[in-house]
């Protein structure tokens, strides 16, 4: 079994879904012959034909709207948005239709679609190519939001998203696309969408993160273990909405300390949601204030300053120290 990168794992999962389920259709800009600007769909049109892998005109609202119509008619469209900075024109269709068709029709019609988009900064990309906007989608009822942080989880979570009977927005951290490789058995096995993943066990503090920031978060945990004999539990949120609070609560119940790390701006970011919920449900177990380490409340800067914007290992470590010795 060859090792694959995260973007290759996405490709594997898409191929598997196309092979296993005739209802699955991919659509998006440049996903056909070109194989996607990140190569996530490389080779798929050649293998499955242009009726399964469709290039679309350049229009994101259209992509979302087409997917809704296709899904309601029994297909399983997996739509690609080229960068999360261009996902905003889909919001109207996603919140006003994708997320509500089931409830508005009392289950008569539903929208089993996936909207995939690369997400996040750190690859020296041009303006608008480095945004993290998962919290906008997490606020939408009736929509699942998922973000993997490793090739294995990309494969399993994407299969789960495609099989899910409801709309899923699936963010892929561009910074991790080619960062490292894992053995990913192409076994068609989905991973659950209703649980977090504990990537590292520990008893001194809990670090919660998702997507690319898990890279720095795990590094911080390793550093703390090696240099200060501090054992940090690291939780990958995986599915960002609806959130599996049980896993986090259980962990915080043991550690009494929580740091949340995300790249998106702080205000009304998803870290706020987790901090608020955990503080409400576990206030008396907390030994220190919950700290959020996040992007600042500024526009994601052009790339010369992008690393000034993104949470660094230094910042995460400092937060860890703060909760350890409040």
């Amino acid at each position: 079994m060859a090792k694959v990168t995260l973007v290759e794992a996405v490709n594997l999962a898409l191929a598997r879904a196309l092979a296993d389920d005739p209802r699955v259709v991919l659509l998006g800009e440049d996903i056909g012959v070109n194989g996607g600007v990140f190569r996530a769909t490389a080779g798929l049109q050649e293998r499955f034909g242009p009726a399964r892998v469709l290039d679309t005109p350049l229009a994101e609202s259209m992509i979302a709207g087409l997917a809704i119509g296709m899904a309601a008619m029994g297909m399983r469209p997996v739509a690609e948005i080229q960068f999360s900075g261009f996902i905003y024109p889909t919001i109207d269709q996603m919140i006003n239709h994708a997320g509500r068709l089931r409830t508005r029709t009392r289950g008569r019609l539903s929208v089993p679609m996936v909207l995939r988009a690369p997400s996040g900064a750190g690859i020296h990309a041009p303006e608008h190519h480095s945004e993290s906007n998962e919290s906008l989608f997490a606020h939408m009822p009736g929509i699942r939001v998922v973000m993997p942080s490793s090739p294995t989880r990309a494969y399993g979570l994407l299969l789960a998203a495609i099989q899910d009977p409801d709309p899923v927005v699936f963010f892929e951290p561009t910074r991790l696309y080619r960062l490292n490789k894992q053995e990913v058995p192409d076994n068609g096995q989905p991973l659950p969408l209703d649980t977090c993943f504990v990537l590292r066990e520990g008893g001194d503090l809990t670090l919660v993160s998702w997507g690319a920031m898990l890279h720095e978060t795990l590094e911080t945990a390793r550093w703390l273990a090696e240099n200060e004999q501090v054992s940090a539990e690291v939780i990958d949120l995986g599915t960002l909405s609806p959130i599996d609070y049980e896993t986090i609560l259980e962990s915080v119940g043991r550690t009494g300390r929580l740091v949340i790390v995300h790249e998106a701006p702080r205000t009304a970011g998803l870290g706020a949601e987790i901090a608020a919920e955990i503080a409400e449900r576990a206030l008396y177990e907390l030994e220190a204030p919950i700290i959020r380490v996040t992007g600042y409340d500024v526009v994601t800067p052009f790339f010369k300053l992008e690393h000034d914007f993104m949470p660094s290992i230094d910042r995460i470590r400092r937060a860890a120290h703060q909760v350890l010795e409040p």
């Binding site: 709207g65 008569r108 009822p141 009736g142 009977p165 599996d244």
Partner: protein, 360 residues
């Protein structure tokens, strides 16, 4: 050559049944199908009686805001009559004529405007989309459905209706463009009733016709007299046939007039003249079809009386069913959000149920 002409287009207009109820030109085949003409007439009358009842319900506090279809009956009913059962309809919010023809129930329409999601369950019409209040969004769903039909090789057509105002939305344009690129089995009907709430057509677009918007997507565009049920029926039937045969999508602009307020929450006297409405009244669709039927001795005063009575009875029965809906279960709010209730919603659901029904 330094200057050449690379493309030419024209927009045609069709109308057969004059306001006086006379046929002109070469009317389509249904002009000689008395049964169909009478079925169309009956449905148009039913819709109108339903419509005025709905307004009455709203005025007496028994219904929420309601969007009347007064004046649009020919366009709406003709679409329904032209479609095949396996086709799928993507309405905006006032096409009751199409919906009733296709098996949506009057009490479902009332329930929708009565603030109850059960109104969109369409128990005898499982595939049609519910009303789309966000203007123009439904046209993309129609294109998506048509794409599904095409990819699966099904001989089905997606039909959608949009208003004159709606044609200003980017979604409308994007849906036409998709329909052109993918040669989709779709029919886009623009119900041009001259007004988008208070905005008249000339403040909506600098176009001479709305049919010409099709040109921007490489689609054929046609104007028809939207108060002429024969013209609309013919145009939609032809477009359906073309689409079903793999010939791609069409845009049909049906010229009609919104004789009522925009909705019961609106007061059209604020922005348009009584004269304009009176003029439009003279061209309304039901009278002209009745005049044709009467002239051909297919319809009598007794027929009319019996029809009106029958429609009123049907509407009354529907109102009773609507009133029997009662309150939806509070739990419904949660139970259809996802196929399966996520853990995090379970607690919210329990808390909500514990509240008991809210005042308000």
């Amino acid at each position: 050559m330094s200057v050449t002409t690379t493309a030419r287009f024209e927009i045609k207009y069709r109308s057969y049944l004059t306001p006086e109820g006379r046929l002109t030109g070469t009317p389509p085949a249904i002009a000689s199908d008395p049964d169909l003409l009478k079925r169309l007439y009956r449905m148009m009358v039913l819709v109108r009686i339903f419509d005025s009842k709905a307004i009455a319900l709203q005025r007496t506090g028994q219904l929420g805001t309601y969007a009347s279809c007064l004046g649009h009956e020919a366009t709406h009913v003709a679409i329904g009559a032209a479609m095949a059962p396996e086709d799928v309809f993507f309405p905006m919010y006032r096409e009751y004529g199409t919906q009733l023809w296709r098996g949506v129930h009057m009490e479902e329409i009332l329930a929708f405007w009565g603030g109850d999601e059960r109104g969109t369950t369409f128990r005898d019409q499982p595939l049609d989309f519910p009303w789309a209040v966000p203007i123009a969004t439904q046209t993309l769903h129609a294109a998506g459905a048509a794409l599904a039909f095409k990819l699966r090789g099904e001989k089905r057509v997606a039909v959608t209706v949009i208003g004159d105002g709606g044609t200003s939305q980017g979604d409308f344009y994007e849906s036409l463009n998709a329909a052109g690129v993918y040669q989709l089995p779709a029919v886009f009907v623009i119900a041009n009733n001259q007004w988008a709430i208070s905005v008249p057509l000339k403040a909506q677009t600098a176009c001479e016709t709305l049919a010409q918007k099709a040109i921007a997507a490489g689609l054929p565009g046609l104007q028809v007299d939207g108060n002429d049920v024969l013209a609309v029926h013919e145009a939609v039937s032809e477009a359906l046939e073309k689409a079903r045969g793999g010939g791609g999508a069409s845009v049909i602009e049906a010229l009609t007039y919104r004789l009522s307020d925009h909705t019961t929450a609106d007061d059209a006297r604020r922005y348009r003249s009584a004269t304009e409405v009176e003029d439009a009244q003279k061209k309304e669709p039901i009278g002209r079809l009745r005049r044709l039927l009467v002239a051909r001795q297919l319809w009598s005063d007794q027929d009319e009386e019996a029809l009106v009575q029958d429609c009123q009875r049907q509407v009354d029965v529907a109102v009773q069913s609507y009133q029997a809906y009662g309150r939806p279960a509070c739990s419904d709010m949660f139970d259809y959000t996802f196929a399966e209730l996520p853990e995090s919603l379970r607690a919210q659901r329990e808390a909500a149920l514990a509240e008991g029904p809210a005042r308000g």
